[in-house]
Amino acid sequence: MSAKHEHGRCHELLGQLSDYIDGELEATLCAELEAHLAECPNCRVMVDTVRKTITLYQSQAPTELPVDVQERLYKVLELD
């Protein structure tokens, strides 16, 4: 398969994609973009895989400090 973003609208979408994902795209542009997405599977894949990339990285973010790192930090800061 050799799918390329050759269509002009696809190229425009690529530029607006982050604003769209963050919900910061102006309403008219957003509606235009969604109309394009409805008929362009390649652009839908772009949007979906960018979203997925972000959530995969988010899911890996540590929420707690490793215990040994915390112990050494408290010792250095004289909080233990």
Partner: protein, 208 residues
């Protein structure tokens, strides 16, 4: 008896810090140490260096608390100290490898246009199918190989969940510059992961 949360508001915490109350310093560390460590680890890709930055960040913060003007949030201020500490280490590293022939040309350029080659939809695959140990390593490599400017923006904005304005403040750039960098970072990471998942996750459905 209901346990009382020490320093429930930012203003009370700041007051405690300025008064030199040990419990306030402990609270500041409890609230922010995991985030500071996480940012340093993602920026540096090295546990020992990230731990050094973590310790230095709080030591600096404790010493400089009188100079904190309270115009930003304490967390944003700590992120900024940690970011500057990480950046200094990255620059030192770069100086040490400056003459190395191993450095690919243009590896640090953030202006390169992302090329979107793969339009295979791997986004519907469940996380546990995608996130193998090898895939996690590939994700770490992908983020480590981004230019520092793109990496720091992606880490703060998308991984740590800071707002555009907070990220701009930590990095000392405009909100628009944050947007531009974030966009490029996301596309590059997506391309890297697409290359990987297209090759390694058999059975994912390709779109025509």
């Amino acid at each position: 008896m209901v346990a009382q949360v020490a320093f429930p508001s930012e203003a009370q915490l700041l007051e405690g810090l300025r008064a030199g109350e040990p419990a306030a310093f402990r609270r500041l560390v409890e609230l922010n140490s995991a985030n500071v460590y996480s940012v340093a680890l993602k920026l540096l890709g090295d546990e020992q260096e990230a731990e050094d930055v973590l310790q230095e960040t709080f030591l600096s913060a404790f010493q400089a608390i009188d100079r904190f003007e309270g115009r930003s949030q304490l967390s944003t201020w700590l992120y900024r100290i940690a970011y500057n500490g990480s950046l200094m280490r990255l620059r030192k590293r770069k100086q040490m490898t400056e003459f190395s022939l191993d450095q690919p040309l243009g590896a640090d350029s953030e202006d390169e246009q992302p090329v979107s080659r793969h339009l295979v939809d791997w986004s519907t695959a469940p996380d546990d199918q995608l996130l193998t140990a090898e895939a996690r390593e590939e994700m770490d490599r992908a983020i480590a190989e981004l230019p520092e400017t793109l990496r720091s923006t992606f880490v703060l904005r998308d991984i740590q969940g800071l707002s555009g304005a907070e990220t701009a403040e930590v990095l000392g750039i405009t909100v628009q510059a944050v947007k531009n960098r974030l966009h490029r970072a996301r596309l590059r990471l997506r391309d890297r992961l697409s290359d990987y998942f297209t090759e390694h996750a058999g059975g994912l459905q390709a779109t025509a």
